[in-house]
């Protein structure tokens, strides 16, 4: 702690590095965060390029070759339809990351907008928006997601929408509190004093200055979103057959837990590793971007 504080001071005194570069230096210092980022980058590469190089088809069933243990032909074995588990996990990375990313972008956008409005205008706007957040947070998030999906009908897209919706209040509250403190800063006061329009104050001054916690929360939220998507898939409310979604793969292999554990272990590992990666990276980012660290 004390050491890093000293380092930070040195960085500040240099006055060479911009705030982002400075954050990157802070981030690099945490080994575990770098490992997390490594995992995340690995899965992103897998999602982008993996499907181009896997040898086996993902949906072609080959029933005579079902439930084969890992071998040189099928590195991670085959599932109950004789499909290559490796190929399906690789394709599943695309689905999971895509859902996690889009859901978080969606909830961050909606949450930020509502949070800024609540924080900046206060009074009844704040009261209404904050109460809505409170109500949403009163539900266990997965329950709320299930409710949303059962209204919209089970599909991957609707699962994505549901996850985006349930994460809105997390972002909203974060931004709101940030805005509340920024609003009192001198540069906003002076902007108001020279008669700048609300729009411009909100979006060119307040928003960029409250982004750091959103980025941190965003990385951590991707991890949660991936788990939630997998949970919905497991319950049959997310991706539908034959999509190689990780949670669905887990659910499909449940009957074979004792006979063919590889059908369950590898998708489970994939979920665990991605989530772990995002969590570690998120922690590192928070340490690097947290203003309280710079004193």
């Amino acid at each position: 702690m004390s050491q890093s504080a000293v380092e930070n001071k040195k960085v500040q005194s240099d006055k060479v590095a911009g705030p982002w570069k400075e954050a990157w230096r802070g981030f690099r210092k945490s080994k575990i965060a770098v490992v997390g980022m490594g995992i995340v980058i690995f899965f992103i590469l897998l999602a982008v390029f993996g499907p181009l190089v896997t040898m086996q088809g993902i949906n072609e069933q080959n029933l005579p070759e079902r439930l084969l243990p890992p071998s040189s032909t099928y590195w991670l074995g085959t599932d109950d339809f004789g499909r290559d588990i490796l190929s399906r996990i690789v394709h599943g990375a695309r689905i999971s990351l895509w859902v996690g990313f889009l859901a978080v972008v969606g909830s961050a956008l909606m949450g930020s907008l509502l949070g800024i409005l609540a924080g900046y205008y206060g009074r009844w706007v704040d009261a209404v928006i904050s109460r809505i957040f409170d109500i949403m947070l009163a539900f266990p998030s997965i329950l709320l997601a299930i409710a949303v999906v059962s209204v919209l009908g089970p599909s991957l897209r609707n699962a994505l929408i549901a996850i985006a919706i349930i994460n809105i209040p997390n972002f909203g509250r974060l931004i709101r509190s940030k805005v509340l403190s920024i609003k009192e800063d001198e540069y906003i006061m002076s902007a108001k004093a020279i008669g700048m329009k609300d729009n411009r104050i909100l979006f060119s001054h307040i928003l960029p200055n409250s982004m750091a916690p959103v980025i941190v929360q965003g990385t951590l939220a991707i991890a949660t979103a991936i788990i939630e998507a997998a949970a919905l898939g497991f319950l049959g409310l997310g991706a539908q057959a034959p999509a190689p979604e990780w949670g669905k793969m887990l659910a499909d292999s449940r009957p074979y837990l004792t006979n063919a554990p590889w059908t369950m272990i590898f998708p489970g590992l994939a979920i665990m590793l991605t989530v772990l990666g995002f969590n570690l990276m998120g922690d590192g980012l928070r340490d690097a971007l947290d203003p309280r660290m710079k004193s």
Binding site: L63, D80, Y256, P261, I265, D283
Partner: protein, 545 residues
């Protein structure tokens, strides 16, 4: 923040440990054996002068314990042990044997049946069983309607004065003699009487209980009703005055509902239950390899099928339905999801039933031919459809979801894009009965071992909206099936059913998939349990060692 990292690491370690445990499971089959031995011990303790209690684990709860009011197998599993029927089925077949009636005689014209009843039989409430009791039961049923007593209507053609109603009168011609007069001959009449829904209830108890008789059933069977906690268990206990000496051997039977197949198997492994219904085929080999367990095969008398609603486009075209038949690789499905414990189906009735037409050649798995047929039907590019997959495991279809996925992949090969949908079981049946499904998975277990119980019930136009979910109608077929119902000569009758199967094969309202052999498992201490093909078992001869 340090905390969080430590937590992550600890979590990672925990998961790795779990993983190792999971891998370990492979070679530690002996751990399962250990628990098995324990359960054997608890079973033995029942032997030492204490009560012999058999716990039967099954997939669902009963609907009602008044058998005439229901059609579901889970209800009959219990009522078959509380009620007796006038005529019994054989131990493991559907040949007719004496039950509450010791003897029967049919008149030449097939219009009069005289049944001699067993003497000295008592209902559980002390009422005497005699001809009046039989008449009272039939009067009660004939005076009802299809909502009250659905099975009576579909087996005997209607109620009261309705034209279709086969039974004209039931009269007591002596204390222990009953005469049935029929309006027209009904070939499977005696077999119908042996079906579980027609268990004879105590007339005094029916009168006393009124509508709540289903909660307080009273019959002449080997066990008396004790307690029913809904969605959990039904308890019945030994009836001391049962008319077969030395039976029942058990003191108490508890039917427990455990919906999840693997949870039920685990309950069996841990000794919580003694018998488990609905064993997943993939677990069969494991059970056979375990010395503390035994596997029971229920003689097959069922069919699992993919039905196509013939009133919906494009399934109104027989060519499309034939294409579907050619597109699906039944053998692969049977090998994979029934683990070979099933026979590929080509007809709607299983081969054990007389009248089965073995000359019919099933549609071969031939995607090219399927594509040709589709092109002929004007759909060279295929089409989009909804495929209903059943949400619950049934004896005729151990895993509807997986079978649906296999079919989906088969159909994709011929350009048909099937979206799998599923609903809660009751909704599923209702939607299918309303003709809302394009194609749906379903099946049927025979109740009396007669071809009529399959072909007429499932595919005749009279049963559209009830058990004919495909809305298939064909006048020529209808005429054949009605003629077969009234035909008493066995050979002529079988010939009619053979012709009927040819028509069905050509029109192809179904893709018949499989005739499965449902599996049950029990502890090695269970003796004389003989699963019955109808799916409900009389447990009076079963014992625990």
């Amino acid at each position: 923040m340090g905390n969080r990292k430590i937590f992550s690491l600890a979590f990672l370690l925990l998961l790795l440990t779990l993983l190792l445990f999971a891998c370990n499971n492979d070679d530690s089959a002996d751990s399962g054996t250990d628990t098995g031995t324990d359960s054997g011990d608890t079973g033995d303790s029942g032997d030492s002068g204490e009560e012999k209690v058999l716990v039967f684990g099954r997939g669902g709860d009963s609907v009602s314990l008044d058998p005439i009011t229901v059609t579901d197998g889970e209800s009959f599993k219990v009522t078959k042990n509380i009620f007796d029927t006038l005529i019994n089925f054989g131990e493991q077949d559907t040949e007719i044997e004496p039950g509450l009636a010791t003897d029967w005689e049919a008149a030449e014209d097939g219009l009069t049946y005289t049944l001699t009843l067993r003497e000295g039989v008592m209902f559980h409430d002390g009422t005497e069983f005699n001809a009046d009791a039989v008449v009272a039961n039939f009067e009660r049923w004939a005076g009802g309607d299809a909502d009250q007593f659905p099975y009576y209507g579909s087996m005997f053609g209607g109620f009261g004065d309705e034209d279709g109603h086969v039974i004209e009168s039931v009269t007591a011609t002596g204390d222990y003699e009953v005469e049935f007069k029929l309006k027209r001959p009904q070939a499977p009449f005696l077999k119908n009487l042996a079906m579980s829904p027609f268990g004879i209830a105590s007339p005094t108890a029916v009168e006393a209980a009124g509508d709540s008789f289903g909660d307080n059933p009273v019959g002449t069977g080997p066990f008396t009703f004790v307690d029913w906690s809904r969605n959990d268990s039904v308890t019945i206990e030994k009836f001391d005055d049962y008319w077969i000496e030395d039976e029942p051997k058990l003191d108490r039977v508890i039917f427990r509902s455990i919906p999840d197949n693997s949870a039920r198997l685990n309950a069996l492994l841990s000794g919580e239950i003694d018998l488990a219904d609905g064993i997943t085929p993939s677990d069969g080999a494991t059970i056979e390899g375990d010395d503390n367990l035994q596997l029971f095969e229920r003689p097959s008398m069922n069919v699992g099928y993919l039905g196509m609603t013939v009133t919906r486009e494009p399934f109104d075209d027989p060519l499309v339905r034939q294409a579907m038949n050619h597109a699906i690789d039944k053998q692969a499905i049977v090998d994979a999801f029934f683990e070979g414990r099933a026979e590929v189906a080509k007809n709607p009735i299983p081969p054990v039933i007389s009248g089965y037409n073995d000359n019919i050649e099933g549609y071969e798995y031939d995607p090219d031919r399927a594509r040709e047929l589709l092109a002929e039907a004007g759909l060279p590019d295929g089409f989009d459809m909804e495929l209903y997959a059943m949400p619950v495991p049934r004896p005729y279809m151990p895993d509807g979801q997986k079978v649906a996925e296999a079919i989906q992949s088969n159909l994709a090969d011929i350009g048909v894009n099937a979206e799998i949908v599923s609903f809660e079981w009751a909704t599923y049946l209702e939607k299918a009965a309303n003709g809302e499904a394009d194609a749906f998975l379903l099946g049927w277990t025979g109740d009396n071992g007669d071809a009529d119980n399959f072909l007429y019930v499932l595919l005749d136009q009279d049963n559209i909206g009830s058990n004919n979910y495909t809305y298939y109608e064909n006048q020529a077929l209808h005429d054949l099936l009605i003629a077969a119902q009234t035909e008493v000569d066995e050979d002529v009758r079988n010939d009619l059913y053979m012709q009927a199967q040819e028509i069905i094969h050509e029109d192809a309202p179904w893709v018949p998939l499989a005739h499965s052999t449902p599996l049950l498992a029990g502890g090695s201490n269970v003796v004389d349990f003989k699963p019955h093909p109808t799916g409900s078992d009389k447990l009076s001869a079963v014992d625990l060692e």
